[in-house]
Symmetry: C2
Subunit: 218 residues, 2 copies
């Protein structure tokens, strides 16, 4: 099912006003998920942040749940694009981890992964939402697998580590690190792990350099 737009009356096209409001609502939802979590992201709270009336949530998105999913789609698409760029530019394991560290930090600052985490955990409260969130994780699973596959290509540990399995672990690790970093407002422990991984990666790059194909991005 496509993004259910406003069931608009006779008028045909979506006006500039409507677009602006939709955009503001999505942005406000992202902000709300980050600051007050899934439970606090009510129609009223979101509308307040967007500077508009509560009823517009229902006019434009039909329900709060749909708006939450729209926000997840928005942040997910934008971050996936950023991650893809990074992956395309990295040609060694060390490159990859350096970039991953930068992006992880960016995500933490901007609360991007927090949105995903809130949606994953909050989904339990709303029947049927879990499946919809899970669907939206699919492109991330695929991306993570590609990244891991390229990172391990030509490495001495390639045979030991199936990309699909490792990718699942990487995703879990990112989510878990985000969870902990947000809980106690301290990202140092997470960043230290990236530094450690970088050190090990530099060893692996020496032993068996990853055979990365530059500019292979779809």
């Amino acid at each position: 099912m496509a993004t259910s737009g406003p069931r608009r009356a006779a008028s045909g096209a979506v006006g500039a006003k409507a677009g602006a409001t939709r955009t503001a609502l999505v942005a406000a939802t992202i902000e709300a998920l980050q600051e007050v979590g899934f439970g606090g992201a009510s129609a009223r709270e979101i509308a307040r942040r967007a500077g508009c009336n509560q009823s517009l949530v229902f006019y434009h998105f039909g329900s709060v749940t749909e708006l939450l999913l729209a926000a997840l789609d928005d942040v997910s698409a934008r971050r996936l694009a950023a991650y893809r760029d990074v992956l395309a530019a990295a040609s060694t394991l060390v490159d990859l981890i350096d970039s991953a560290r930068v992006i992880f930090s960016e995500d933490l600052d901007a609360g991007h992964v927090a949105v995903l985490v809130e949606m994953i955990t909050g989904a339990q409260a709303v029947p049927g939402l879990g499946a919809q969130v899970s669907e939206r994780l699919a492109p991330w699973r695929e991306f993570a697998e590609t990244a891991v596959r390229r990172a391990l290509a030509g490495s001495p540990v390639e045979a030991l580590l199936p990309a699909r399995e490792v990718a699942h672990g990487v995703m879990a690790g990112f989510l878990g690190l985000e969870l902990l970093a947000n809980l106690d407002g301290d990202r140092a422990a997470a960043l230290a792990l990236f530094d450690r991984a970088r050190m090990i990666a530099s060893l692996l790059d020496l032993v068996g350099p990853a055979a990365l194909l530059p500019g292979e991005q779809p």
Copy 2:
């Protein structure tokens, strides 16, 4: 601050009835956190599951938030004891991972880690709750560090991997795997990672057997 019991009137000791109700409420809270999440764990929902009146939540615990923390304490204490037993019995890396796999599976079945994850993520919605949940994570951090330190003792990679850092990663990994397993009701990906870790651990056990001191548990 100690567990704030019921501000009981003139009567001195806590009766058997009160103890039973408190126990039932805590159990019901754990169940609710697992099945309907932080957002759904209301006083009414919890009381319904406990088979008592909603007002007893406030009589015995003062507020819903306090009851949630009591439930977290309960499950945390019981699981930590189980984990300690396992750690004490493991004498090789492979032992450790085998046991970790069993316990991870148990936790998933019983929803123990789910309670923790719900509290971590739900904490954002309630001001001040985050810090209280973070405090309750301290024994887990300490436990994880001890486990990792013992697991790596005498291993060839010991110098490369500081226990404190790795422990943080292990915790993040557990939380993330739990998150994903609960989301799409599929633990196969997580279990595959345990199997893979076991394989690698068996190699490490061969190269440099971990110098574990049996029965060193506090």
